[in-house]
Symmetry: C2
Subunit: 151 residues, 2 copies
Amino acid sequence: MTSQDTAGWAGQLHAQDRRVTRQRLAVLAAVEQSPHATAEAVLAAARSELPQLTLQSVYVVLSDLTTWGMLRRIEPPNSPARYETRIGDNHHHAVCTGCGRIEDVDCAVGHAPCLTPSSSTMTIRIADVLYQGVCTDCADAGVASLPAPLP
Amino acid sequence: MTSQDTAGWAGQLHAQDRRVTRQRLAVLAAVEQSPHATAEAVLAAARSELPQLTLQSVYVVLSDLTTWGMLRRIEPPNSPARYETRIGDNHHHAVCTGCGRIEDVDCAVGHAPCLTPSSSTMTIRIADVLYQGVCTDCADAGVASLPAPLP
DNA sequence: CACTTATTTTGAACAACTCATAATAAAGCG
DNA sequence: CGCTTTATTATGAGTTGTTCAAAATAAGTG
């Protein structure tokens, strides 16, 4: 959210022959400031800087930035899509089944451990791991835990 | 989709003090017959046996059966929810970014490899792995492949 | 067979997102 | 620096996938 970031983002946009607009920078800043934000949350955050910004614009900006690799989209179950600026590494996410909180999880083994499906008719490019669990807060609050499936 | 299955399902429902209804059996049969089916697909399939079945009923039946562990719900990006009767093992899914096809993938290493997030404030119960790639058909057809992210 | 209550149907509503079109403003040029 | 081109954004409406409340139906029980 610093002018550091802003300059970097502007450079990246430039490098891809895209225009550097207020709304793109505002959206990037909003996502940087609150990772795993939804489109609505991004709108709310970005509007403090850019009051006339609309939700539809947020949607197209998020979508565009995601396709040019400047944002990463996360799609947890029972939640609208979320976005983050942390890209370029393959980290995963843990979502609490109690409160929906999302946390980043570094790839446990250090190098994509799951990227080796035995035999398949597909050429695998990405392995996205979504951990589901119960965060300490919800555990303390005694949130009902679902039956754990087998390995 | 045999009477074998039907009897088993009826037994499972009974064991959970749930009523054995035509619509539940029809939905189970439909999902068994076409794994990874969407709610709409289930409706279409089940209606050949039970023409008056409605989409809303399919939704509640799918949801109920999922919560009592008789079905598993898959939520791939850019797709409505899908369901399968293969439960009780922890297998994952590979979705083709070209055509959307979904395939089952057995856990590569034989025992949940990713179930060890380093340090976390959450107690992990499930690790869902979603592979994304390009199936041979789409590869042959020369479907544009997205840039592959780093490990 | 009658009764109780889970289940299904009916009908409507909602959230998240996408689309077409018109208005706006970056970026390059003279 | 102002002008032009065209990407980008705003406007307004529409779609898809799903959920909800209430009335009708039908499993299972005695």
